[in-house]
Homo-oligomer: 373 residues x 2
């Protein structure tokens, strides 16, 4: 269930949440489990040393001083940390699997975060692709839509530039101080100067790695009612964004192109798979503005698994039994509970331990698999 | 109901059928009604003078000598007249509304007339459109499909040229001796030299008029299991062919293109309306070769209205009552029967009269409207 917006946390709890989230192996799902299980981030932090001892792999817990440093650093950039549940947390993000517990947000105070369209595509875009993007972003902006993209070269850049005056959000794969690519640092400044926003879930100082880009893409779609793929090769990041958008129950639109143009392969394939063919902003608005009941369903979905009250600490037998059932093939938690014979609470606690120890990885919030280092 | 293939007609009956069909205002529907009502074309020809007298607009009935002249002329071109019901009448044509009772056919004796794909598109095609057509037609040909098109400039020409070696059918809008455009006369010869076919429902010597091209297009789709639209502007002949194909229960495929390219407008619009986006021959074959039950339904459909036994000759009262109910808005025959209170046989006979008098026109075989000269 999404948190009710408008929550206020104490300064101490905000710092505790930041420390917890920045601790190694504490992703959004683990963060949420810890906070719910122990009642607050402060309580979870207190419990963490004992929990980590059980995993046998001690983690370095982020110190209070480090958290205060990040807070001060973010403030120096004129940005702020926004926690899930707070009033200015981007509303559509609440409804994605593994929503980031904290985002760093610069600017965007007056943006419309509800009427949003993501535009993504190739970095090595063609002149026609750039022009198409410019037309789409301009028209969507004029019709009141905020344009979301990833600040990459090519299509992303064209989308942001064309919507500077009407509202745009750039989602970063690294820290706020690590804009990538360098050539788009001026664009990032232009976005802020025009009332747009920069958003990231990564801490200040974080250099984006290859794997951070797909992770970032889930936020581009997560911030958007639907995403438009303008030019995309097969097996491109844009197609990952499209897949993530579908998992998030968002609309996927694609601009068609000649089958002779490799940059049209991805978009054409998406259309064959059911994405809507669009030839202009009107086609997008027609779908997003319509009273399709599935649109409101977007806001009813309950992505997060239920949490059960705390159980007795698991035994070593329980631990090895559950670990023995895991493999590199993702399996549903309910299936694990059935096969292990363990209680729901014990299973969740053990998976939390495994997660903190970096032994497992999650997909879609309910499927878990062994992680190979 | 489609006639059972393999019928043989006497030489006299074939000549009578040709005379009947070539008489003014005798289109496919009227032809069929006359032959069924009077039992044979010979009997219908005998009855025609009396019938025409009732319409008040005497028609010039084609003479035996004129029919024999056409037969001889067609033979001089190495072609033949094929009647519906005969063994070498193109099988898929049997299942379209207002199937031509007689076609002039040159060549094509060894073509596969069952595995056929129509390819249509712009006359002023782009280089990319021509290349795409060449790839499609080549691949479809190599996979055993006969390629059908309209011998026009641009896409049609590319489709025929690329499938010369594997089998192609050109459907003409005029007579066999009136190839249009002139520049494609050599292509027509190449088609025949390579075992392909030229087909038309128009008589020898017929210069194609503007209205004959859409009429021809219904045969391009009618000869095909499905049609591919490669490049088409909005409101183009290719889109008419696509609409006719849908009415004939045939598949419609479209090649996508950039929304910035006006020649892609038609194809993209077709995809938005439900046509299948294709990027190559494989996408076409996947649909046409599949065991979709709707494919076999193609051959079960009964397009033609039922005919009822002859009634008493209609009275002048009947005649004026039915004429009064007609307007320029097409209306269903069943509705006319209900509203007029006339019998089915009388209504059909009167509509036949009106048709011969050039007073009405038909659409889709069951809808009739007043014709304005």
């Amino acid at each position: 269930m999404a948190p009710s917006p408008g929550a206020t946390f104490s300064h101490a709890e905000r710092l505790a949440r930041l420390r917890l989230l920045r601790t190694d192996n504490v992703g959004p799902a683990t963060f949420r489990q810890l906070v719910h299980r122990f009642g607050s981030a402060e309580a979870a932090l207190d419990a963490l040393p004992a929990l980590l001892k059980r995993t046998g792999k001690p983690l370095r817990i982020v110190s209070l001083a480090q958290a205060e440093d990040e807070l001060a650093g973010v403030a120096r950039y004129g940005a702020r940390l926004v926690h899930i549940g707070e009033a200015d947390y981007p509303p559509l993000l609440n409804y994605i699997p593994a929503a980031p517990p904290i985002v760093t947000l610069a600017g965007g105070a007056n943006l419309d975060w509800q009427r949003t369209v993501g535009i993504v595509g190739a970095r090595n875009a063609s002149a026609a692709g750039i022009k198409m993007t410019r037309l789409l972003a301009t028209d969507l902006g004029e019709r009141g839509y905020t344009v979301v993209s990833g600040l990459a070269r090519g299509i992303d850049t064209a989308a942001h530039r064309a919507s500077l005056g009407t509202g745009t959000v750039a989602v970063l794969a690294g820290g706020l101080d690590k804009i990538y690519p360098d050539e788009n640092i001026p664009l990032a400044h232009d976005i802020l100067d025009n009332g747009g926003a920069l958003l990231t879930e990564m801490p200040l100082g974080w250099e984006p790695r290859a794997r951070d880009f797909p992770r970032r893409n889930r936020l581009v779609s997560g911030l958007s009612l639907g995403i438009v793929v303008v030019e995309a090769a097969k097996r491109s990041g844009s197609l990952i964004t499209a897949r993530l958008a579908l998992e998030q129950n968002r609309d996927v639109f694609a601009v068609p192109g000649s089958p002779l143009d490799p940059r049209a392969e991805g978009g054409n394939a998406l259309i064959q798979q059911g994405a809507k063919l669009i030839t202009g902003a009107e086609d997008v608005i027609e779908t997003l503005g319509s009273a399709d009941p599935s649109r409101t369903a977007l806001f009813d979905r309950d992505w997060e698994p239920d949490l059960v009250p705390d159980a007795e600490p698991p035994s070593d037998d329980d631990r090895s039994r559950l670990l023995g059932l895991l493999s590199s093939t993702p399996i549903d938690v309910d299936e694990l509970i059935r096969q292990s014979g363990l209680s729901v609470g014990t299973t969740q606690m053990l998976l939390l331990e495994f997660d903190l120890a970096g032994q497992v990885e999650w997909s879609s919030g309910q499927l878990v698999a062994l992680r190979y280092a």
